[in-house]
């Protein structure tokens, strides 16, 4: 009985210690995110002044709001195009870099550089690159292709794609390389003894063993895709071409108009969408890992 009591007191003491370590952070998170987010959920059912109850009116309005729909469409289109391309390209490069040994390690550093380059400094190049008389147009005229005012046409979307791929390649290469390094060498050796070629090895050993990282890389690449707003904003400002109009643009406009009701409903919807997507991916791939 006494021993039990002492153990309990020990646990209580440890709980108190844990609380002391956690409180500053938990307090801040609660104050700046959790409590106000509860308020945001409440507001999403009220009108803009926060006075009158509107039920799901705000949500219904969003589904008829052309700006919001355009942004959602662009965001989804962006994710569906960019993420597969990024994943495949970075996987290919990571495999080749790993195979290239020492030189691969050296070259890898170059791929990581874009992560360190702030958007604010890259905008200058983007402006010269995608101007109607810029470098890209110069290249097009060299190979006798028509050139465009890239930023002010539907090609603007592809400007975002390029910036995203450029910026995130290194990030994904690091993750793939970590996955590759975790595959034990003796698997390959055993396969080679059995007469497997390098393609066999890739499809039967490398790919299956990379499945667990595949999930996290997809999720992280998706989350990073929200950050292309930075490029879009610095290159094209508050009112870019329709094809690069993103969620953050809509939120900024609502913020300027103080449409807090729409912002609240939009925030809740975005939260749910991201949450559901992460859970879905987790279910789809969780079993493999």
């Amino acid at each position: 009985m006494r021993r039990h009591g002492r153990k309990k007191a020990g646990i209580r003491k440890k709980n108190r210690a844990a609380a002391v370590f956690l409180l500053p952070s938990l307090g801040g998170v609660a104050l700046f995110v959790l409590i106000p987010f509860a308020d945001v959920i409440r507001r999403s059912f009220l009108d803009a002044m926060g006075m009158e109850f509107k039920g799901i009116g705000n949500y219904l309005e969003l589904f008829h709001n052309s700006a919001f729909l355009l942004a959602v469409k662009n965001t989804m289109r962006f994710a569906f195009i960019c993420i597969p391309v990024l994943l495949l390209l970075s996987l290919g490069i990571a495999v080749l870099l790993t195979g290239a040994g020492k030189r691969g390690k050296l070259l890898k550093n170059f791929y990581l550089i874009p992560m360190a380059v702030p958007v604010a400094s890259i905008v200058l190049l983007w402006k010269f690159l995608f101007h109607s008389q810029g470098f890209l147009s110069a290249f097009c005229s060299m190979v006798h292709l028509p050139s465009l005012d890239w930023m002010n046409s539907s090609a603007a979307f592809w400007v975002l794609v390029v910036s995203y791929l450029w910026k995130n390649m290194g990030y994904d290469i690091i993750l793939w390389s970590a996955g590759l390094a975790a595959i034990p060498d003796n698997l390959y050796e055993a396969a080679r003894v059995d007469g497997a070629g390098s393609l066999d090895c890739f499809f039967r050993i490398t790919l299956p063993n990379l499945l667990p990282v595949f999930y996290t890389i997809t999720v992280l690449s998706f989350l990073n895709s929200f950050k292309v707003f930075r490029e879009a904003y610095l290159v094209a400002g508050d009112y870019p071409h329709d094809s690069m109009y993103l969620l953050q643009h809509v939120f900024n406009n609502w913020f300027r108009e103080l449409s807090l009701d729409k912002m609240a409903a939009g925030a809740v919807l975005t939260f749910l969408a991201v949450l559901i997507l992460i859970l879905l991916l987790q279910r789809a791939w969780g079993r493999e890992g």
Partner: protein, 278 residues
């Protein structure tokens, strides 16, 4: 075959590094030289822009002009330094103990609280934007640097990274210190901090690159442009301002670049720790 692969890899590597070379080269060119290459874009001329990576007449004039003629730029630079330092300091003070708490203690609702942290770290700014605004407005902090610093300081992402590193410390080490009579605080300071320093550095390197690049937050929470950080700097690029624009872009880049060079290992470890389960 090997050679072909190396050439392909090298080509893409150059492509990745090209923007940095472009900015560096441009910042070392004089007005005339830049004008020759870039006139089609900068002025309304015919033809196409061209460029070269080795200036014909390298000069540091652009940097000198930036130093002497653009006080606004340096105000922004200092705003960036203050925001970045504030957020990182906050992440250290609140985040490191929290990560230790999650890694080393069992307590009621631990799983639930931790899941909340992980979920929050995944959420894009659109989700937390209004929440942050409501609080900042209540506290009268809108339009002060605190509006950017405080929400950033309580980001849950660094907590998660440091947690990953702290869980890697063997329990036996901590337990033996406990048996020797060390208090929890002492264990944290003398064991946790040194053994988890890799994780702390990783979180700081990733945090720095993120803070130096903040755009959404200052754009929303700072109406007064005198408080804007460098990440919102948009150079006027006319023919006359072009050299300064290049120099300014390089100056934005340099701090992040040095952190990257010095902390590349930490950067890689941090990215892996945040993603791959052990």
């Amino acid at each position: 075959m090997k050679k072909v692969i190396l050439v392909i890899l090298g080509f893409f590597a150059l492509l990745a590094a090209y923007p940095v070379l472009f900015l560096a080269a441009g910042s070392l060119m004089g007005k005339q030289e830049l004008a020759v290459y870039l006139a089609p874009v900068l002025a309304k001329g015919g033809g196409y822009a061209a460029f070269r990576l080795f200036p014909m007449y390298p000069t540091l004039r652009a940097y000198v002009e930036l130093l002497l003629d653009s006080p606004g730029y340096f105000i922004m630079f200092w705003n960036s330094v203050r925001i970045t330092a504030g957020i990182l300091l906050g992440q250290l003070l609140a985040g490191v103990p929290a990560a230790w708490g999650f890694a080393r203690f069992e307590f009621p609702f631990k799983r639930a609280v931790f899941t909340v942290y992980v979920t929050l770290m995944m959420m894009p700014f659109q989700v937390t934007m209004l929440s942050n605004y409501l609080v900042l407005d209540q506290m009268g902090l809108m339009d002060t640097l605190w509006a950017v610093i405080l929400p950033g300081a309580f980001s849950t992402f660094p907590v998660f990274i440091m947690y990953r590193f702290f869980t890697g410390i063997p329990e036996a080490v901590v337990e033996s210190a406990r048996i020797d009579g060390a208090g929890e605080w002492k264990i944290f300071l003398h064991l946790g901090l040194p053994l988890g320093s890799g994780g702390i550095c990783s979180a700081m390197v990733l945090g720095f690159l993120e803070c130096w690049n903040l755009i959404e937050q200052p754009l929303t929470f700072l109406k007064n442009k005198e408080l804007w950080p460098l990440s919102l700097y948009l150079p006027d690029i006319g023919l006359l301002e072009a050299p300064a624009a290049f120099a300014a872009s390089v100056v934005v880049l340099l701090p992040a670049f040095f952190i990257f060079l010095g902390g590349q290992d930490y950067l890689e470890q941090g990215i892996v720790a945040a993603a791959v389960k052990e």
